[in-house]
């Protein structure tokens, strides 16, 4: 699939923001049910940054629309469209998240804060899942049409969110060890899920062939005809590009693909774990960690698109997708 930068930035930033905000809200709960009493302010800053990321992401997403003047209609198909749902819940999330932060700032009564916290966490998760389901619901794209996609989105959102929070709170008096453990834990699980996902990608499950796309899987002459025969594209019927080739028939060069894979493993997982493990507090290192993380995530999301093969590619000559 064609990887639109706007969509990559959207999913990466909003994912990270939602994950981070979920953790901030969860922290609220942790406080109510434990005797913790460290400073709120830094946490609120983290929450504000997370919220900003979500908003930034949503802004990027509109750049992807060819006819944005109709974007306001995007809630119309709530009943069936994950994109509608995402839009609706994203707005709901922004509202509650803002309310939650405000409540904490103004020191509103604990009860209300807890309710808002629960709501925000829930909405954050729903939005992440909606985004993931936009892809996971697409049958023509084997790489996406699997439970693995929402799982990976959830894990990466929270892992990257956790790392973000560590980086933000790094400079404060707050005790970082538990947070580092949390981030590291999330990263490890996310890495595991990613590894499993890539094994699935490489594997053969639910592949579709050109022969079945053309209906010649059982021979050219339909019923009672010769056994399966190999098909191949002779002429695609247009000499230069079409919307379909630009959108679906993009294939990364092996070199770039390999580079992206390495960048992903290093940037999102390995380097982050090292940084969390070495533990010394250093604002520059923290900032660097986030830059590295973002580039790793961009690589990860780029791969998510370019490695996905749509069934339309069959009609353009690919033997299997």
């Amino acid at each position: 699939m064609h990887a639109a930068l706007s969509v990559i930035l959207f999913t990466v930033l909003s994912g990270m923001g939602l994950g981070a905000f979920a953790i901030v809200a969860a922290d609220e709960l942790a406080r109510t049910f434990s005797a913790r009493a460290d400073a709120l302010a830094p946490w609120n800053v983290a929450g504000a940054i997370a919220l900003a990321l979500v908003i930034a992401g949503l802004c990027f997403s509109t750049l992807h629309l060819a006819n944005p003047k109709n974007a306001w209609r995007s809630a119309a198909r709530f009943r069936t469209s994950w994109l509608s749902r995402e839009a609706v819940f994203a707005v709901a999330f922004l509202a509650t998240a803002a309310a939650f932060l405000g409540a904490r700032w103004m020191g509103v009564a604990a009860g209300a804060r807890v309710v808002l916290a629960v709501l925000t966490v829930g909405l954050a998760w729903v939005v992440i899942v909606c985004t993931a389901m936009i892809y996971a619901s697409l049958k023509p794209i084997r790489a996406w049409h699997t439970w693995r996609v929402p799982l990976n989105y959830l894990l990466l959102a929270h892992a990257s969110g956790a790392v973000l929070i560590v980086a933000i709170l790094d400079g404060t008096a707050i005790a970082m060890q538990p947070l580092r453990m949390l981030a590291a834990g999330l990263l490890l699980v996310a890495a595991l899920a990613k590894w499993e996902y890539r094994r699935y990608l490489a594997g053969d499950q639910r592949r579709v062939t050109l022969e079945s796309a053309l209906g010649v899987a059982h021979g050219v002459r339909g019923a009672g005809a010769p056994a399966t025969v190999a098909a191949r594209l002779l002429d695609v019927g247009h000499s230069r590009g079409t919307f379909l080739t630009r959108e679906f028939v993009v294939t990364p060069t092996p070199v770039r693909q390999q580079a992206a894979v390495i960048a992903m493993w290093l940037g999102v997982y390995v380097l982050q774990l090292l940084w969390l493990w070495q533990g010394t507090r250093n604002p520059i290192a923290a900032a660097l960690a986030i830059v590295v993380l973002l580039s790793g995530l961009l690589a990860e999301r780029w791969l998510f698109f370019v490695e996905a093969r749509h069934t339309v590619r069959l009609y353009h000559g690919e033997r299997r997708v």
Partner: protein, 945 residues
């Protein structure tokens, strides 16, 4: 989960008033009927005319994209004159007014006509108005006229017309409704573009078998029930092997051969004599047969004569004579024609060849059709039914575009004769005005009695013997293209592909003005394209162009327009009057005689004029006898007026419909001043349905022949006898043998060719290019195919069609490529003995392993056709023509790369070798300089309200 249903209001359609017009398509030569819808002034939709005999409502991709042709930025807008001081071919012009343009042409042509009319060479391409251009040339008095036939398919026309009286190409069609077995030889698209497609569907519905013989499996061959991947140039051998099987099995139509062919005619066997191999004739010059009943030799053949098909007989003068069929049988029963002995060469195994022959025989003789139609044969005998041997064949350029195409095509007709499968139900049938005598009685006229006089007749015709050639006493060709010379005696359609080379060489003589109409001779219509372009620029010692003046009449910015000294811009097919005449290539179908018109549906938005009007204007100014009154005043206001009032012979004009003052007579009748109106009222075509009794066996159908004489199709009411043994060919062979009592070639090389190639019986020889070279030097046959969506050079300007094909590859069989270490998308050198070019490779399964092919005429000169200089057509597409030499290697440039009998251009004889380019070598070569690029829109939103 079923998708939920919604009901919504649809946007309102355009409510501008509709105007519906009927005319004839011109996106190719098929000439389908079109129904054109205008919304207000806007051209909205072009669809097929359901009532039209040619296309019955359907329309091809080109026809459906006509609107984009109308919108082409390459349309010429004003007369153009090459800017003084600029070089020919640079394409730099000054716009001039029509008055000036016509004055220039008139002055020049008058001067030539007054001195030496031969010095005007007027050649036209794939146009549809040869009746008018031919008449114009004849009236002007130059023999140097022809249309595209010589480089197109004259092999089919000549072989058919010399053999059966009608032919493949536009002069006959398969009986799609009744045939049970259809064999298609070497056709990708053809002129009958839509009729063939409609027909193939009919066959498939009826479960008739469709066999395609073609080295490449695309298009029609894709849907064939059986595909025979023949090796290019070997069809003749394949056909004669089929003959061998039919004769061996004895499965032939004896009665048909005896009655309708010259099988029983006695051929004089007197080696060395001046009449050896000619027919024995009686005192009335009637050919003699042996009557099995009376046991006598007679020239008076009646219905009751029972002529011997085989045998050797002694003539009155004591000499021996054999029947045509004896001579044929003796030859084709020779083991050299046995399937086993041709299989390897044709790339078709013996069992398959045998099966094909026997399937045809089975269908012909066991699935015979009998129709309860009473008809009268040429001898006045009434039959109460018509029998059909429902095997039909059709063949085109896969046969004709080889230097052995004439004989190959004769071999196909011989198979049809043996099966008795001609013009009967289910056969390949004639299209009016055919059949005509084999060959038609029309000899090429060569020179006017005196300047300013017309030629005695058409410059083209059908020589019967050496005396009929267009040569001087010393054998020098009289025509610039050397048609009807010893080098191409039966060049019935001229040899347009040789005009430029000969004119530049001043051989046989220099010319003054070359006038080209609808011919892209600076590109896809020439062999050795790069070389031809240099010739067009070539200058003599004192810096004068070797072709002093070039006039091009075109509607678009073609490559040839770039070489013009004067450009006369034409209208498009939606803007002018045209007559698709029976005097030209007919659109008739087997059962219906038809012609059609075009009429202006919209006014031109440019300063252009219909070429037809320009021709009538010039003819009037120059005072052609047929175009002026005795007192010298002009006869016809314009083309529209000419079509209505001109009579070729009393009662016969360009259009056959609604003749007579009252518009009530068909085909023959006085001029009808309201004829155009009548056509327009009848959806722009005229159809005359032949009654059943006149539909079959027309070559020997008394009532049809009488009708055809009245209609002016034929001169006299005589059976048209099919020619197995061809006497005209034998006369030329005798001349080659120096036995002929008449003109003989002085040059040994000419004599040798006549002896070898003027065999009175069909025979097979390797295509000439292959003869001179060992196969391994250039192991691959290189051919082209018509893409169904492109008409020669002129659809690259079509914004829709070029999205489908803007680029071409060389296609090669997968295994062949693998063996040569070649892969898809490789840049390759394709090398012929003449030249080499660079292009890209694609592999496929459906390609005969010794064959490579590409789509025809996709590449374009940069800047031509309104395209950007970096258009794929100019940067990655390639033109195979660069590799094809216009002369044969032997004979020091004396012999053109053509069929030695008809002069048909041998496009498909080309042999090449293919090698991978060195790393980094890419881009097309040879590179051609760019014409000035025209500005064209970067985005089209056609239909935008």
């Amino acid at each position: 989960m079923k998708t939920p249903i919604e009901t919504r209001q649809l946007p309102m359609p355009n409510d501008a008033p509709k105007r519906i017009e009927y005319s004839t398509c011109y996106m190719c030569a098929c000439r389908c009927g079109i129904k054109v819808t205008f919304e207000g002034a806007k051209l909205r939709f072009i669809q097929g005319n359901r009532d039209h005999p040619v296309n019955r409502g359907v329309l091809c991709a080109k026809g459906s994209a006509g609107i984009m042709k109308q919108l082409s930025p390459a349309k010429l807008t004003k007369p153009l004159k090459r800017r003084a001081g600029t070089e020919r071919g640079a394409g730099i012009f000054d716009e001039i007014e029509w008055d000036e343009a016509l004055a220039i042409v008139e002055a020049r042509l008058r001067k030539i006509r007054d001195t030496d009319p031969r010095k005007l060479a007027f050649f036209t391409g794939r146009d549809q108005m040869q009746a008018l251009t031919g008449l114009w040339a004849q009236q002007y008095g130059t023999p140097n006229w022809a249309a595209h036939g010589g480089f197109c398919s004259v092999n089919m026309a000549a072989a058919g017309l010399y053999t059966i009286g009608y032919s493949f190409w536009e002069f006959g069609a398969p009986d799609w409704d009744q045939t049970r077995y259809f064999v298609l030889w070497g056709v990708a698209e053809d002129h009958a573009s839509n009729p063939i497609k409609i027909g193939l569907d009919k066959l498939k519905r009826r479960g008739a078998k469709f066999v395609s013989i073609n080295p490449v499996r695309t298009g029609y061959s894709a849907i064939a029930d059986e595909w025979i991947a023949v090796r290019p140039g070997t069809d003749g051998l394949l056909a004669l092997a089929i003959v061998n099987v039919l004769l061996t099995d004895g499965t032939i139509d004896y009665a048909f051969l005896a009655r309708y062919t010259n099988a029983p005619w006695l051929v004089i066997c007197d080696p060395g004599a001046a009449d050896d191999g000619l027919f024995a004739r009686d005192h009335e010059r009637r050919p003699i047969v042996h009557d099995e009943v009376g046991g006598t030799l007679t020239g008076a053949v009646t219905f009751d004569t029972k002529p011997a098909l085989f045998g050797t007989f002694t003539l009155a003068d004591g000499r021996l004579a054999k029947t045509s069929l004896s001579l044929a049988a003796e030859r084709y029963l020779n083991p050299q024609y046995a399937p086993e002995n041709v299989a390897a060469r044709c790339g078709v195994d013996a069992a398959t060849i045998r099966r094909l022959a026997r399937e045809m025989a089975k269908v012909a003789f066991e699935e015979t059709i009998t129709l309860p139609i009473e008809w009268t044969d040429a001898w006045g005998h009434v039959h109460d039914s018509v029998t059909g041997r429902p095997v039909a064949m059709y063949a085109m350029r896969g046969i004709s575009a080889h230097s052995n195409g004439f004989h190959t095509c004769r071999a196909l007709h011989f198979v049809q004769m043996l099966l008795g499968a001609l013009d009967g139900p289910g056969n390949f049938r004639a299209r009016a005005p055919f059949p005509k005598p084999a060959p038609p009685r029309q000899l090429p006229a060569t020179a006017p009695a005196h300047p300013r006089a017309p030629l005695a007749g058409s410059p083209l015709g059908f020589p019967m013997r050496p005396e009929d050639l267009a040569i001087d006493a010393d054998g020098t060709p009289k025509r610039i293209d050397k048609a009807f010379s010893w080098q191409a005696p039966l060049a019935a359609h001229g040899m347009m592909h040789m005009v430029i080379a000969n004119a530049v060489a001043g051989d046989p003589y220099p010319i003054d003005t070359l006038m080209l109409f609808m011919a892209n001779m600076a590109w896809n219509s020439s062999m050795n394209t790069a070389g031809t372009r240099d010739m067009l620029r070539a200058k003599d010692a004192n810096g004068e162009y070797r072709i002093p003046f070039i006039i091009v009449a075109d509607a678009f910015r073609s490559e040839t327009v770039g070489f013009a000294d004067l450009v006369l811009p034409d209208t498009t097919y939606l803007e002018r009057y045209d007559a698709i005449s029976l005097l030209d290539r007919p659109i008739s179908e087997a059962d219906t005689i038809a012609d059609a018109i075009r009429h202006p549906l919209m006014p031109p938005d440019r300063d252009v004029r219909p070429w037809q009007d320009v021709l009538v204007e010039l003819a009037s100014r120059l005072g052609f006898s047929a175009f002026v009154n005795p007192n010298g005043t002009r006869k016809f206001a314009d083309y529209r007026d000419f079509i209505v009032r001109y009579e070729k012979s009393p009662g016969i004009g360009f259009l056959g419909g609604w003749r007579g003052a009252d518009g009530k007579s068909a085909l023959v009748g006085a001029p009808n001043p309201r004829q155009w109106e009548a056509y327009i009222a009848n959806k722009s075509f005229f159809e005359f349905h032949l009654p059943p009794a006149l539909q079959y066996y027309r070559f020997a159908n008394r009532r049809y022949l009488e009708f055809a004489k009245k209609a002016g199709f034929i001169a006299d009411i005589e059976p048209i006898v099919m020619q197995i043994w061809s006497e005209p060919l034998q006369t030329f062979r005798l001349a080659g043998l120096q036995q002929y009592a008449g003109p003989r070639p002085a040059d040994a090389a000419d004599r040798e060719r006549l002896v070898k190639y003027f065999d009175p019986l069909p025979f097979w020889y390797p295509p000439l290019e292959s003869q001179d070279r060992a196969d391994d030097a250039y192991p691959l046959h290189a051919i082209t195919q018509r893409p169904m969506v492109m008409y020669h050079s002129w659809d690259s300007q079509n914004a829709w069609l070029r999205q489908i094909i803007a680029d071409n590859y060389l296609y090669m069989n997968v295994q062949t490529a693998a063996a040569a270490g070649l892969a898809d998308e490789d840049w390759i050198w394709v090398e012929s003995a003449h030249s080499r070019l660079r292009c890209r490779l694609k592999t496929m399964q459906g390609c005969e392993p010794n064959t490579v092919w590409t789509w025809n005429a996709i590449a374009k000169q940069p800047g031509a056709w309104g395209l950007a200089a970096d258009a794929p057509e100019a940067t990655t597409a390639f033109l195979l023509n660069h590799l094809i030499a216009e002369h044969l290697p032997g004979g020091a440039g004396k012999f053109s790369n053509s069929d030695p009998v008809t002069g048909q251009a041998a496009w498909f004889d080309l042999r090449v070798r293919v090698t991978k380019c060195a790393a980094g070598e890419s881009g097309v070569s040879p590179a051609i300089e760019s014409l000035p690029v025209q500005d064209a829109p970067a985005r089209l939103r056609w239909g935008n309200p």
